[in-house]
Point group: C3
Chain length 295, copies 3
Amino acid sequence: MKQHLVSMNDLCTDEIMDILNLAKSFANGDHWSPNEKTFVANLFFEPSTRTKTSFEVAERKLGLDIVPFESGSSSLLKGESLYDTVKTLESIGIDVAVIRHEQDHYYDELIHKVNLKIINGGDGCGQHPTQSLLDLYTIKEEFGSFEGLKVAIVGDLQHSRVAKSNRDALTALGAEVVFSGPSEWFIDSEADTKCNFNIDEVVETVDVLMLLRIQHERHFSLTAISADQYHQKFGLTEERERRMKKSSIIMHPAPVNRNVEIADSLVECERSRIFKQMENGVYVRMAVLRKLLEQ
Amino acid sequence: MKQHLVSMNDLCTDEIMDILNLAKSFANGDHWSPNEKTFVANLFFEPSTRTKTSFEVAERKLGLDIVPFESGSSSLLKGESLYDTVKTLESIGIDVAVIRHEQDHYYDELIHKVNLKIINGGDGCGQHPTQSLLDLYTIKEEFGSFEGLKVAIVGDLQHSRVAKSNRDALTALGAEVVFSGPSEWFIDSEADTKCNFNIDEVVETVDVLMLLRIQHERHFSLTAISADQYHQKFGLTEERERRMKKSSIIMHPAPVNRNVEIADSLVECERSRIFKQMENGVYVRMAVLRKLLEQ
Amino acid sequence: MKQHLVSMNDLCTDEIMDILNLAKSFANGDHWSPNEKTFVANLFFEPSTRTKTSFEVAERKLGLDIVPFESGSSSLLKGESLYDTVKTLESIGIDVAVIRHEQDHYYDELIHKVNLKIINGGDGCGQHPTQSLLDLYTIKEEFGSFEGLKVAIVGDLQHSRVAKSNRDALTALGAEVVFSGPSEWFIDSEADTKCNFNIDEVVETVDVLMLLRIQHERHFSLTAISADQYHQKFGLTEERERRMKKSSIIMHPAPVNRNVEIADSLVECERSRIFKQMENGVYVRMAVLRKLLEQ
């Protein structure tokens, strides 16, 4: 493992599988704590319930000492830079900083200059590696392996922090990945041509239907199409769900826009793993923290 | 005990007495902790010092793991509902959620659909059961029992979260309850007629003078009457306090509007139990948490 | 030691040395915890990263229980006074309150009326005793003693919380202190005349160059002079740093305005102790907390 985990590109396939196996052991009740008092700070510059709370629980389960940090009452208000803030935390004794920040690649100015360990909890429209890992973990738990699985990633591919890294990782692990959704939200034109599928075809053939959140909060405007039109054209309606294979599952990083990406009635349906993903996130984050701290 | 404590109506008289006795044992220094690591989150959507801090101390004394939650930096900003937020916390491993919310009966959409335990820390102008319980505890500590006590509840009955439930509980436990204050703030006309007393009569006869806070922050406007006029007409002035019985006590849920509900000089007078109530709140909340967790 | 530490004037020279020695033992890895569960709350009414995080780490290293307090979601929003807030925390069981507040001498209304212990984390343009102590500790660690040292305090003396108390303490401990900076920011005219030195002279003779932050956030406007002009006229430029004595050090309480008080390239230069000061702050705060709790 590298010193930091800021992108799925930091991990080779073996390291990914290693983290998933370690997460499994934590899910089975294994305990691990560092030998020395270890301080962690969670710096969230964007709203978060799932990721922040999940890290907070994972950290407590590992017996780490968590030092609260609120950007809105920090010296960032006095104009202090992110670099000086992180360097300050390091000087005061923080060992790990989990950071979510609205700026793409915020970590570029940090990773070669700080001694503490950084876990990226989401950067702009960039990466969100622990979300990718919990997605992979959820699929592996369900199907045992990735070989031969067909996974569709559906929706706002362009603004997603996981669409591209999930595609890359799943492909490397032996799955076939297709995309679906509005073509103006696709990642790049080459992939589009190859992977663009209609949701009506996709639902009948995939093992995993991975819906993406429409990122209203990223100033994305749905002018061309209403929420209801999106649901009818690209979303998972009750009718489409009925046509899914018996064993196939539904995933979504949440928060869900009910009746947009997915019908309200399906959020907690039998094949939905949406809340299971959140549970799995804790084990995956425990695994990542342990890997970084054991170096 | 039910799964949740959202209203005093969730408790029968025996359960109330049981909680008060358990609170007493905690006040005497008894210790108790759950056998398993237990996670709690305090979701306060309205300002709070007393209730939130009191729960935080009670939880720490019981050895619970507290996961911070700030509504202002949560995914509620992305439009996530309270239900999805609580369900998320449950999925991540939270066992108990203490919730204060501005909406009356916010818990109706939660209580039959979540597996974690909810303690209502105040809903709109609805209920605030741990405040009621600490009021009862404070009275019991003072007088040994409720039989034959005369209690006056004074002030903004309509917007109070405890006036009605305290009346019901105290009456069931054998006390006599009367109301006093501006008639337009009374709860219902029948009770008004029966229980409306002038503050000048009331102070001379009651054992407990329970003042209520004027809820400025609930957009209540005092247009018809100034703060000073309220104090002279309905408040506890120094002159009125001198006419109270030797053994009678003053209570107030706080924060106090000094020189409105009560003269500034009386807030910490000998018969005031206002800060004692806050101390007692910790023991009562320890008792409630233990009862819910031991189920 | 007094009950509270609100000002450096609360400490005699012996007590200062005692705290510095205790801090040294913590830096060397000594452990100490109170015998009883001890609750502390950090009340920061002004932005802070360093001081708040430093106290949070120090408190955790001492095994204290920290109860979170956010002024922006407290009952201060309902008009509750600072006194009633602190008295509430005391009633609920808080043993120590660390307070930063924008009002000079906010503590005057508290110190004789509360039973918990108060540590001043900064009041307006008043005092910030733990910052002074960490400054002293950093100098002592560097030079062994204060006798015969020459220390220059440079910059916005008037709005600084440490300029005056550092001058007084350093002088009492045997050091010589001079000031430098814009004359309109000097503390009082007598001291000005005696101690006003040009930065170009100062850099060549001092052992310690203690730069002060320009307090933009205190509504101080630099109308008469731009940031760049300040840097050229009063700041530590690369050219000036080259003329410093070999063994002399640079200090700054931070956050640094890079290229204003000090050239960007010098913030982490070999003779800079700016991040070392932050590390030292943890040990000094552990020492202060222990001294207050052991009384």
